[in-house]
Symmetry: C2
Subunit: 234 residues, 2 copies
DNA sequence: AATCGATTCAAACGAGCGTTTGAATCCGTC
DNA sequence: GACGGATTCAAACGCTCGTTTGAATCGATT
């Protein structure tokens, strides 16, 4: 008899280890449908394994979920390492690199988006796997960003302020990942391809941030005042 | 026999109309657990109604879901109308008002957060109810923001640029709503209450945006250059 | 070739789900 | 007070889910 009807999903599925195959299929399924809606039957079918394999290898569905989140997270870390900067790299360049790689990681087409989608679910509605994800993955990245911002502002700002700057940057990128469908509804049809690619967004976010910090020219020089103070023209 | 064991949830539940009660309970349940995990039995128990009431009034679970999303959306529109500005109000003031009311709507404690949470689910993983939500609720608000930004920049920027500015502002606020739990993990414990209240965030986002546009002082005046320039230490 | 633990399998179990049913109850109308 | 439609109810139906079971199969070791 044939070993199994495989070749159900992508090419990476003929991994020798069935445990690995199930983890992959589970990640995809959980990412696409969510924890409740995903069924172990569908996962096992996609992995070319028997229904009982989940319980044999992972105990139960919940542990499979946690393992698949970790697995996707580790795969992502391997795929997109943080950029290394030569000493003397301008801080503005570092910021552009950081934002660009973050957006690539979130939206980039060179890797399947389901891994990020799975992690996104965790961030939006934290379960058990979330804290681990934050400590291992998010916080170190956030720390790098804070370092760049601190350098960029000449260490003139208190930590709390730098953190808020960092969150402002992440928020701008995050919107495209989390609510990309809605963004696509809000801007004219042809504009997405021209002005909302990862590259274009990275340029915009970097320029926006540099201008706010005072390390680049502002977007406009309107004659309209602030709330109470007045601005000094060039 | 007693009419029913009510008083299960909040005070607004003794609405005379059972249909209304079910809609309210369904909104809360769907917001908290998601569509799949929420059960009509729990919803009906919370609403003080019989299980069959859902099918009697709404046909099936999916139609109940769509109705509850619409219901939450309409209630929100009634609760938080867009601020009106007297003629001559400075654009910077309008921006602050807009951001503040958006954050209040998203995070504010004066109204139950489950309505926004329910709508958030729709934005993140659009279903049938999403397009309607965008057209009726999101797009008009976005239009107001674009108007303020256009005024703020003296109509000097093309529409595509203004839209990206608008998305940058929304993204900064959106992060706190969608990933608030993670934000709380990333900043020191005591800092949330001091620097990440709706008021404080609104001030920060407004200042950040005004600085980027050139309508306020930048956050720092570092000697650090842009990408091509070089930085000079303090 | 026999052995034995590891793995795979088809089949079934029990629970919980959304939904249906048909009778009971309510309530305005005549 | 009898009628009749609207509403409520307890009970059950059919289905799918996660999980379990016990036998069949595999593969290295003796």
């Amino acid at each position: 008899m044939p070993s199994q009807t495989r070749s159900r999903t992508s090419a990476a599925d003929d991994s020798r280890d069935p445990r690995e195959r199930i983890l992959l299929a589970a990640g995809r399924e959980f990412a696409e449908r969510g924890y409740e809606a995903a069924t172990v039957r569908d996962i096992c079918t996609a992995a070319g394994a028997n229904v009982a394999a989940v319980n044999y290898y992972f105990g139960d569905k919940q542990r499979l979920y946690i393992e698949s989140v970790k697995h996707a997270h580790e795969a992502r870390l391997r795929q997109v390492p943080q950029p290394e900067w030569a000493p003397g790299t301008p801080a503005a360049q570092k910021l552009r690199d950081f934002v660009g790689s973050m957006l690539d990681r979130m939206l980039g087409g060179d890797q399947p988006p389901w891994q990020v989608r799975l992690m996104m679910r965790e961030l939006l509605q934290p379960t058990e796997a979330c804290r681990e994800l934050v400590e291992d993955y998010i916080r170190p990245h956030f720390g790098i960003l804070l370092g760049v911002l601190d350098e960029l502002t000449g260490s003139a700002l208190p930590g709390s302020e730098v953190r808020r700057l960092g969150l402002s940057i992440i928020g701008q990128c995050f919107l495209y990942r989390a609510a990309g469908d809605v963004v696509a509804m809000l801007v004219p049809a042809g504009e997405i391809d021209a002005y909302h690619t990862p590259q274009a967004i990275a340029d915009h976010v970097t320029r926006f941030t540099l201008a706010a910090i005072g390390a680049a020219e502002p977007f406009a020089r309107p004659g309209l005042g602030t709330v109470s103070a007045l601005e000094s023209p060039r």
